[in-house]
């Protein structure tokens, strides 16, 4: 079995107290819990403080470009469905520049896990307003307070068709670790919104404020993660009260599932050494 140490690469450059440490740790816990091998696990990210996570995780990784990690992650998974693909990134990365890809990743339902490290601010670029910033939040680019309505990531995930939707918090590493493990185990697109405070640039949304706002969704009466309605209701209340844990899970057809069952050898693993095998495709263009 792997250890957290073996899954760690180098020394991170995150600020002391940054919420992102806990996400790294929780992913490592999930990898260990699931007994995954390093070489079968791929962590893909975009650009941001949060997207540096694969730099510190010792599995296959791909640190791509700002906002585009999800298409890359889907490409990796479709090329080799045997791999476990975990996609990480920040709220600017995933819900500003990359928001379009999020909606389509959710409805496409490729079997990958997307962990949003939501600190409600742009941190790597040193403190501008983000699409998840609270209304009125004062930043360098919103000196009068943010005017736009924040994106409700959980609600968007549910309405776009994500088949696994959960919410975690950097203060609750154990819970987050097992939530990530079940997301990875889930067949289909799984999404976890993690409240991951930026201690340097966001003085409004802090460990304390998140703690006060959050509650364990599993402990609510009549908890039923199969219920879409209940999940929607909880997601609707996200800005006031943050539901921790699994909100919703359903099984529907996974993208290319039928194809994969007919072709057990992954595209990336196909034997391509004999081009002549495909010369029959030329026949339809020959003389009658």
């Amino acid at each position: 079995m792997l250890t957290t140490n073996e899954l760690t690469y180098g020394k991170s450059t995150w600020c002391p107290g940054c919420g992102h440490y806990a996400v790294l740790n929780a992913i490592q816990r999930a990898v260990i819990e699931l007994g995954l091998k390093k070489e079968e696990t791929v962590c893909v990210s975009g650009i941001g403080c949060s997207s540096k996570l694969p730099e510190y995780l010792d599995v296959y990784g791909f640190h791509t470009m700002h906002g585009r990690s999800l298409p890359h992650a889907q490409g990796v998974k479709l090329a080799n469905p045997e791999l476990t693909v975990i996609n990480v990134g920040g709220d600017g990365d995933g819900f500003a520049i990359g928001c379009g890809h999020f909606v389509h990743a959710a409805r496409r339902n490729v079997d990958i896990t997307y962990i949003l490290m939501n600190n409600q601010i742009y941190s790597l670029t040193k403190g501008q307003t983000s699409p998840t910033s609270d209304r009125g939040f004062i930043t360098k680019t919103s000196p009068e307070g943010a005017e736009e309505a924040p994106v409700n990531t959980l609600l968007m995930a549910l309405t776009a068709g994500a088949t696994f939707v959960g919410c975690g918090f950097s203060s609750e590493v154990t819970g987050l670790g097992s939530l990530i493990a079940s997301a990875v185990k889930h067949k289909g697109f799984s999404f976890i919104n993690v409240m991951s405070p930026c201690v340097t640039f966001n003085k409004l949304n802090t460990y304390d404020s998140y703690k006060k706002q959050s509650y364990k969704f599993e402990e609510t009466t009549g908890y039923d993660p199969q219920s879409y309605e209940k999940a929607i209701e909880a997601a609707l209340g996200y800005f006031e009260r943050k539901p921790l844990g699994l909100l919703f899970k359903t099984e529907t057809s996974v993208f290319k599932e039928v194809h994969m069952s007919e072709h057990p050898i992954a595209p990336a693993m196909q034997d391509i050494s004999d081009p002549k095998k495909h010369s029959n495709l030329m026949e339809r263009y020959l003389r009658h």
Partner: protein
């Protein structure tokens, strides 16, 4: 070389069934052993607007349109506006009086006109005017004296498979009706098919998009992600149905950024992977092309060019994406750009693009153009035995785990080509990175290492320049020629014919052609030598800004000798047009 040709143009409203009639004629000509190419001119909408389908049937393989028309079929009056300039004294014009009330005659020549009520004949005899196109096919077959056997084969090849025996029978009778009708016209003119023949048993008839698809699958492509766009869509459509049968996967992306990013993800994961697009899509892909260059991920991008800027002319042709293909994306990245001239090169270059991408671990852009992508050409059968699969420095798990070996994904190799491992391989775990990185792949900002890794990446281009998979320039004409012509892509065929036209007229072989097949890396030495031996060199290309000429100038200080011959009206060059322009230039 072609020995004469017969050119047919059919014009009418979009939705008139002109395209399918054109396809039937192509099939009949192909069965009869003619070399051929088509030239479709259609508007970017589904119904309405003038459409024309031109077919050039030649005595050998040909790859460029003609600017003369021997038989013009007019289903509407607009046809005359579009094609009168192509007519000559020997031309035959047939028109349907149902839609053509006024005949606009050309100036300076007097073709022969025949009124043939295609629609009326069809609806009288077969209760559907739909068969008017097949009646028309019969008329053309009668004009050209085409053997019945070829007509039957051509018709059945297209109709039987799609619509069944009954529909085929009606079409046969409709075709016969057309033939009889024409034969009954007293003194009706006949034209002869070109005397030469291609070896039809060893030929195929195919579009550039289809050829690219065949080449990609043969070349080991097993993943495509794309977003529909004219004139590249057919590649993706065909991949969607054929790739799964070869064990691959296709994904329709939400946009071109997602398309290339998914392709890059798949390339990182070890599948030979591609995306297909046109100019607007290539513009969106710019940042990701930089990522593939920096992170050294193999990926193939096929750009079927259409005239820009912006949406431009989606169904017309141009060579205006050259600069973008060579320079797009910020920073310095290794990349390879190649341009195919015909369907044969579409096949061969598509297959080899994947070798180049994997060997040099970089993005490879294959440029085609609408005129090759969407038109049909008769060409020699593709040679599958010529295709090699070379995966470069992709290591096996055994190699990765050799005792004492330490795998470094971006190792400072002497030729810049580092060893590569893919996820699932034990011993190859690494970070693939679009941030500047160390040999291990982990992020760095160290100035010395930054310089070294940039050198390493860019060195790969030098290595690629001498690769046997990189298409070397091709030359046509005599080495003693005073003048040079530099072309890329589809203009090659037209230019080769143009110098024949010129020598037929002048009795001198004054021009030699250089076809630049790889634009990045550019064939600098060959081009420098070519230019040095000539008095003047004409760079013939389809864009406003003389991009190929600019590229030559960037590499070779012989600017005084270079003269641009440009065309950017959305149409491809015809051989006679190039010949005229060149003769005017040297007069």
């Amino acid at each position: 070389m072609t020995s004469g040709s017969i050119n047919i143009a059919i014009g009418g409203e979009a939705g008139d069934g002109i395209l399918s009639a054109g396809e039937i004629l192509c099939k009949i000509f192909f069965e009869s052993g003619a070399g051929l190419c088509t030239y479709k001119n259609f508007p970017s909408r589904i119904r309405g607007g003038h459409t024309s389908y031109s077919i050039r049937a030649a005595g050998g393989y040909c790859s460029s349109r003609s600017c003369e028309t021997d038989i013009l079929v007019a289903f509407d009056e607009e046809t005359f506006d579009f094609h009168n300039g192509e007519l000559k004294d020997s031309s035959i014009v047939i028109y349907d009086p149902a839609k053509v009330k006024n005949i606009k005659k050309p100036e300076g020549c007097s073709p022969t006109y025949y009124e043939i009520p295609f629609a009326e004949l069809a609806s009288k005899n077969f209760s559907k005017h739909l068969y008017k196109n097949t009646v028309m096919v019969g008329v053309i077959a009668a004009i050209l004296n085409i053997e019945d056997a070829h007509i039957v084969k051509g018709l059945s090849a297209l109709i039987k498979a799609k619509k069944g025996e009954d529909v085929l029978k009606i079409n046969m009778s409709a075709c016969e009706l057309g033939m009889e009708h024409y034969r009954k016209i007293e003194g009706a003119k006949r034209l002869a098919m070109p005397s030469g023949k291609i070896d039809a048993a060893d030929s195929l008839m195919i579009t550039g998009n289809e050829a690219v698809t065949l080449g990609a699958i043969a070349g080991g492509c097993r993943f495509i992600a794309a977003y529909p766009i004219s004139p590249a869509t057919e590649i993706f459509e065909m991949m969607c149905s054929e790739l799964p049968k070869a064990g691959g996967t296709a994904m329709q992306a939400e946009d071109e950024i997602a398309a290339i990013c998914a392709a890059i993800g798949a390339g990182f994961a070890g599948a030979r992977s591609m995306t297909s697009t046109s100019g607007p899509g290539l513009s969106l892909m710019a940042e990701a092309i930089g990522l593939a260059g920096c992170a050294e991920v193999p990926v193939v991008i096929v750009d079927a060019q259409r005239p820009g800027p912006s949406t431009g002319l989606p169904t017309k042709t141009e060579q205006g994406d050259l600069y973008h293909a060579i320079f797009c994306s910020h920073g310095d990245i290794p990349r390879i750009v190649i341009a195919a001239a015909d369907v044969g090169e579409c096949f061969e270059f598509a297959a080899n693009a994947f070798n180049l991408a994997e060997i040099y671990q970089c993005p490879v852009i294959l440029l085609t153009e609408q005129v090759i992508a969407q038109n049909k050409f008769a060409a020699p059968k593709f040679d599958y035995s010529n295709i090699e699969i070379n995966r470069g420095r992709l290591l096996s798990e055994a190699e990765l785990n050799k005792p004492g070996y330490k795998f470094l994904r971006y190792e400072f190799a002497s030729d810049g080509v580092s060893p590569r491992a893919i996820p699932s391989q034990a011993g190859g775990v690494h970070l693939c990175n679009g941030n500047e990185h160390l040999e291990s792949g982990r992020i760095t900002e160290d100035p010395e290492l930054r310089r070294k890794i940039t050198d390493k990446r860019m060195k790969k281009i030098e290595a690629a320049a001498s690769s046997k998979y990189l298409p070397a320039p091709k030359f046509y004409g005599d080495d003693a020629a005073r003048y040079g012509v530099i072309v890329m892509g589809s203009n090659t065929g037209a230019a080769v014919e143009a110098i024949d036209i010129i020598s037929a007229k002048t009795g001198r072989r004054d021009f030699k052609i250089m076809q630049t097949r790889s634009l990045m890396p550019f064939c600098v030495e060959a081009a420098a030598e070519f230019i040095s031996k000539r008095e003047k060199v004409f760079v013939v290309e389809n864009n406003y800004s003389a991009q190929l000429c600019g590229l030559v100038k960037m590499h070779i200080p012989a600017h005084g000798k270079l003269v641009s011959v440009l065309k950017y009206d959305g149409m491809s060059f015809a051989a006679a047009e190039i010949a005229d322009r060149l003769m005017t230039e040297v007069r």
